[in-house]
Amino acid sequence: MTIDSLDPEDVDAADILGSAIERREDPALLTGNAEYTDDIQLDGMLHMAVVRSQYGHARLEDIDTSEAEAMEGVHGVYTYEDLTSDETPGGGSFALPTAWLLDSLEQVPHPVLASEKVRHQGDGIAVVVAEDRYTARDAAGAVDVAYERLDAVVHPSEAFADDAERLHDDAEGNVAFDWEIGDAEKTADAFADASHTASIDLENQLLIANAMEPRAAVAEYNPGTDELEVAMTTQNPHVHRLLMAGVIGHPEHKLSVRAPDVGGGFGSKIHHYADEALVAWCSMMHEAPVKWTATRSETYLTDAPGRGHETKAEIAMDDDGNIVGLRVDTMANMGAYLSTFAPAVPTYLYGTLLSGQYDIPAIYGHVKGAFTNVPPVDAYRGAGRPEASFLVERLVHLGAKEVGMDPVEFRKRNFVPDDAFPYETQVAVVYDSGEYGKPMDEALELLDYENFREEQERARDEGTYLGVGFSCYIEACGLAPSELAGQLGAQAGLWESSLVRMHPSGTVTAYCGTSGHGQGHGTTYAQIVANELGVPYDSVEVVEGDTDEIPQGMGTYGSRSAAVGGSSLVKSAQKVVEKGKEIAAHQLEADPDDIEFENGEYSVAGAPARSMSMADVAGAAYLAHDIPAEMEPGLEATSFYDPENFVFPFGTHAAIVEVDPDSGEIEIERYVAVDDVGNQINPKIVEGQIHGGIAQGVGQALYEGAEYDDNATLLTGSMQDYAVPKAEHIPEMETESTVTPSPHNPLGVKGVGEAGTIAAPQAIVNAVADALEPFGVDHIDMPMDAESVWSAVQANATADGGAEPAGDDADPGGER
């Protein structure tokens, strides 16, 4: 079903929350009035370019900057030595911190410019500051670096090999950490007693976020006030400010970080990279504004990739088809250094979701992180959760096959039952709410599943191979509460902060510490605040993404904004309403307990004529001529909302594909998505998030993957070689939703930003495996290009002694 959007003017104030209104941010974006970081032009602005490594792994022998320095238009060329010299500004660490720790974590130094060794191609060696961007780039090319090339490692399994070249002196065997979750012994027992097991060996490939706007920063230092303002492509300005203050050694209160319009992030703009800190430093150094905008090649070399797992896993079943155990052993690629939140991704964001939607009595997960010569790996849309969901859903597909059950029946049999919520898994989390059968049933109806199976059968007889694949995913959003996050290793709280300010005229500005970059927070937050305060939607302005304006914040990632940021706004708005109530009671000469608040009107219970509007109360609060004694004037409230728990969106995605075993080509015939993201603030925006998420999931399944050669040289370093899906690559998506509100937050919302990306890959891989069942193909690693599909068919065909599908005695997948 496609949601029709509405003009906000046609929506009653009382209905604003939950309406699919058009986005208020669109006019600026549609007229060219938006301001992205690279749009910023300042007087006397200089441009920075970064000299990066020619090799994935090398020792630096010499850096000769003389030729670059002598070039016309070049204002300076700096190496690590210059940064740390006493003669230059800032006394920072000039090393990037890791904000998530694990007991076994090997915290290796990550200098913002390499001085002895380069460990991936994106490692900066020097920066050039010049009059314009062309000159800066030319001069960067003129810096002469002498290297001694070292052997490189790309995959974790290579990094762990006995004779592998070591990246960091302190990280023996290139091990970044060794982590486990669940109960190893109990799980071993479960496997020992099981009647059936199925296993898989898979790679979850490295992906590059490819936000359409490359990373960029403009820094402006004011020597008069010692204030340093940085406008940059960020998903979390406050976090960046805190981290950057330490990196460059400029006090947090003299540093401001602002996110102008940001052209997509998908995780890649969460992390603190070297470049933005270098721009800030160069601005102090030159006492002038400095801009840096990554070229697309630079984004490929430096943006933190995501995923990168090599996994062996098994599932165990009893005779009745009940899952009795799940065991996972993963080697996770961390890249050359530990990026900002990297250690959390393959551990707490992955291991905790290994139960999927299923009631599994014994689970054990073991993850070993590897240092390799790819860029530091960190969160990319989904972050850990897609890897978990992919694995669980692939195992469930194989498990069903192993016990000879229809994959739908097998899933339904093993779903966490509706009456078991809140449900505590074997991997340390408690699911808030769910009705897992509902989206599944809805998806089956959309697919007309029974009929499809018959059609599949008929088609096979005619030599056409159709397959259906399911993905019953679970996602965890809004990691919380902060105390728990702290116990797990977070070096930050995971609350969200907001300020709701009524103006004397009755209009409102709402500030929130999240930082949208395409999600439409300006619209959805205004819907939330208008609803709470009972004021017109158009009277609410939303401000995000500026440390100078917003008290504090944690940012936008992990599908947390609605659940945590939105809830914080509700809390602030409720405080405003409460204060307003006392003012109204005072003015209406009633007891505050007798004041009712509805649709923006305060009235005395039982005497509705005695009433005051929110706007009048705001006016009174600022006039302060007649407010309760000892009450402070003004009407605004700040809150820090720390959720009680994660929220767990879920749903079922299903794909129908046709696979041509002769050419290896895959055609997605239908894609059905039924998502339960709790209450929806704006269904049109929810739909958009689902669409975009699915497209990235389809990209992973069929097209995308960062590839490096043996020397850790990126082979997919352009949009030509890294296949970001085009319009023709993405199927028409049929979306529906069910609504199971989360009991954990006042809005009952769960989160939607990552759902599609988490769900899609395994729906497609399962469908392809289903289509190729007659050929005995169980698994094909992503991206499933025609060649890999063809090879898989051939490999099995040869093993079976013929290129024809296996005969009737091999269980034909469609027979159920």
Partner: protein, 180 residues
């Protein structure tokens, strides 16, 4: 570096400027003339974010050198319509939620205009094909296709002439799951 004096007519306004031989048209537009509505996504003619109309045709302005555009008429997103008076293509994107971060959008709209000029009533497949050179990482394209169809309907002279008025539905062609 040799410099050249060139003249660009951008959105009807004539500009004389001096550029280096290697200056890309997109940088001349953005950095020299301040038309920052046109975005740069790849600088290698692969993403389409920088698409403008040059002498009536959609062109990736990172592919052209500014000197090559000397004397040309350029139309950028800034010339489409204002927030109070949207061009139908802008209206289509707004109504169909055809944009999220908006970074690809100016280029998408410029290409869409090209598609509609050649084919006022394109099918969904034709639109997808026509958008081949424009990447969007946010939307999954479905709502972009809806947006272009929405605009097509709005822009068709026939629709107005032969009683398109009676069709009050402000959001046509929203049936994303169907082929049209």
């Amino acid at each position: 570096m040799t410099e050249h004096d060139i003249t660009l007519t951008v959105n009807g306004a004539e500009h004389d400027l001096t550029v280096e031989a290697r200056t890309l048209l997109v940088h001349a537009l953005r950095d020299e003339l301040g038309y920052t509505g046109t975005n740069v996504g790849c600088e290698s003619s692969l993403c389409g974010a920088c698409t403008v109309r040059m002498d009536g045709e959609a062109v990736k302005s990172c592919t052209a050198l500014a000197v090559q555009a000397d004397g040309a008429e350029i139309r950028t997103v800034e010339d489409l319509g204002t927030r109070h008076d949207f061009h139908p293509i802008q209206e289509g994107f707004q109504e169909e939620h055809g944009l999220q971060c908006g970074y690809c959008t100016p280029g998408m709209m410029m290409t869409a205009l090209d598609i509609l000029e050649e084919n006022p009533d394109p099918t969904r497949e034709e639109i997808r094909e026509g958008l081949e050179g424009n990447l969007c990482r946010c939307t999954g394209y479905q709502n972009i296709v809806n947006a272009v169809q929405n605009a097509a309907k709005e822009m068709q002279p026939a629709a107005v002439a032969d009683g398109g008025e009676s069709d009050d539905d402000p959001t046509p062609a929203t049936d994303g799951g169907e082929e049209l």
